[in-house]
Amino acid sequence: MSGQERGTTLGVGERRAGRIAVGVVAWVVGLVWIFPVAWTVFTSFKTEQDATAQTLTQGLSLDRYREVSSSTEGTLSLATALSNSLFVVLVSTTLVMLLAVPTAYALAIRRVPKWRDILFFFISTKFLPVVASIFPIYVYAEKWNLIGTRTILVVLYTAMNLPLAVWMIRSFFMEVPRELIEAAEIDGTKLINQLRSVIMPISAPGLAATALLCVIFAWNEYFYAIQLNFASGSTMPQWVIGNVDTRGNFLAKLSAASVIACLPVVLAGWIAQKRMIRGLSMGAIK
């Protein structure tokens, strides 16, 4: 069935007016959405005086970017934060995918007993406010000398993203036709091969979308990072905040830092856009 058949049919005049109205609304929503981002990007090219006064008298330049990316004494350098973030994000996302794929298999394809309870357990870990969990985590992190390390963030980001990944991948695995898995079973595949050569290729767009979301969430995570990791293991969000200067104007520098922190995620999202949209909508069709 095509979209035309499903939609309500409007009269000639109505249809045109309706389309213009929808177009106007779309533009307004889009502009409201883009405003903070555009403002930040614009401000990042200004001088501090212009930024604070919200004027444009001294022209635009890349100077703020130069300032924030060159290390100043005592503060976290961009290179360190970037490498920490990359490490934490990539290791935690890899772990999440390695754990979530077999879990999703056991919850979608060869269902274990009580799979509903297990599924609920995973999502229930998301019910608690993050703040409520920080105290015990802090106490034990300190006890095991994990404060200020990248390890604690890897562990926490893995735990944080795992429920989401399990739920998403499970729904993608559910879409794999039952007969295909049975055919693979009769064709002699062992469990690992069944996953590798039949189930995962078919749900590849979904797996890519899941991994991308995990990357984004881990990259942007701020609360755990600031609470547990104020030393050399700090990540990009902390580096951004490090540009808040208590003694002078910092709006332009902060904007430049924000733009730098956003770039990798925007880039990854842009590259993965097509696959991700297909992956995200895959579960919605049936």
């Binding site: 007969e179 049975e182 079973e185 064709d187 002699g188």
Partner: protein
């Protein structure tokens, strides 16, 4: 190549009280094409899936080549299955689909490609070897699914309604090709269908299932001419066998006329059944009225109404073409040929020629 044996095989789905397959005992000879047929819910697909190892057995056992495989994984049973929706791997091209099982077995690439090419040639699939399934027509996909099974050279082929997604003309054509191919390869084949015409035309023997219980397993001819019970009598044959309730004793009366059957089967007579070709129009003593005439060219099916035991009953007669009667005509009909008598438990008790 191997024989297959179901030995009181039973499958009870969790949460149900009636077994989907109930103590099925059936032996399929080496190289035989056996068709499992029955209406939906009869357990035919479950029986096939039990043989494939996709459904566990709750009781009994299944033997392939005299080896008990009841607890053996599907991949270790040396079988190949053709699914109703073909279940082709969408990300692999035709050659990779057909060679998939061989690759899993660790067959060297050279040999694998050779075997795939041989089967592709057999099925006229050579031009499509590097295509993805989504770029094939329904008939081509069906052949790829067949090819995937043939390439493996398994002991048994399992086919789960493999033709039901084809259009009518292609289905009839493929049916013939499949029978020829099976005879040539001489691999034991279990074929599931709900279509009794398919069952009758394809099977060396046909096993009729109902509610998980085997009703009769015999050659198509025996099923037609000597059905074990009323269900088989009604299920096999198109149009279906005429069935009328009759008195337990005394002369057998149809529509108030004595049709000359004295045998009262020891007082356990309950139903009479006779095929459309047994009903003769214009020669007999049973009054009837013509309701509908179906002229198929080579033969004519005449739908009749008779008054039997105070109620209207419908009968179908097969008449030779051309047929001269018209709808609404009152005619006299009689029975000439084989009739079956069934008892109160629906079992066939006697077959009589009148």
């Amino acid at each position: 190549m191997a024989s297959v044996q179901y030995d009181a095989a039973t499958r009870l789905y969790p949460g149900t009280s009636r077994p989907a397959v109930n103590e099925l005992s059936l032996t399929i000879a080496d190289g035989e094409l056996l068709v499992l047929v029955g209406p939906s819910g009869s357990g035919k697909s479950t029986a096939l899936r039990m043989l494939a190892g996709l459904e566990p057995l709750d009781a009994g056992r299944i033997l392939i080549a005299d080896r008990d495989v009841s607890a053996v994984r599907p991949r270790d049973r040396d079988i190949a299955m053709v699914f109703q929706n073909y279940a082709l791997y969408p990300q692999l091209d035709v050659a990779a689909n057909m060679g998939f099982a061989l690759k899993q077995q660790g067959v060297p690439k050279e040999e694998r490609m050779q075997r795939v090419r041989d089967v592709a040639k057999l099925l006229d699939l050579e031009p499509y070897l590097d295509r993805k399934p989504r770029n094939l027509s329904g008939g081509q996909r069906q052949r790829v699914a067949m090819g995937r099974a043939i390439v493996r050279r398994p002991q048994v082929y399992l086919m789960d309604e493999p033709l039901s997604n084809l259009d009518a003309k292609l289905r009839v054509q493929t049916r013939t090709e499949l029978v020829e191919l099976q005879a040539r390869l001489a691999v034991t084949t279990v074929y599931v269908t709900h279509d009794q015409v398919e069952a009758m035309t394809m099977g060396d023997r046909v096993a009729v299932l109902r509610d998980g219980i085997l009703q009769q397993c015999d050659t198509p001819s025996a099923l037609y001419h000597a059905p074990a019970n009323l269900f088989v009598a009604g299920f096999i044959g198109s149009p279906a066998m005429n069935q009328l309730h009759v008195s337990a004793t005394g002369p057998l009366m149809i529509g108030g006329a004595d049709v000359g059957i004295a045998d009262d089967v020891g007082g356990e007579r309950a139903m009479i059944g006779f095929r459309p070709e047994v009903v003769v129009i214009g020669a007999g003593s049973i009054p009837a009225r013509i309701r509908v005439i179906e002229d198929l060219g080579s033969e004519v099916f005449v739908h009749l109404v008779i008054q039997h035991e105070g109620e209207d009953h419908r009968l179908v007669a097969k008449a030779a073409a051309p047929f001269t009667g018209a709808v609404g005509d009152n005619v006299q009909i009689g029975l000439r040929g084989t009739v079956h008598l069934f008892d109160t438990s629906d079992a066939r008790r006697a077959t009589i020629t009148v």
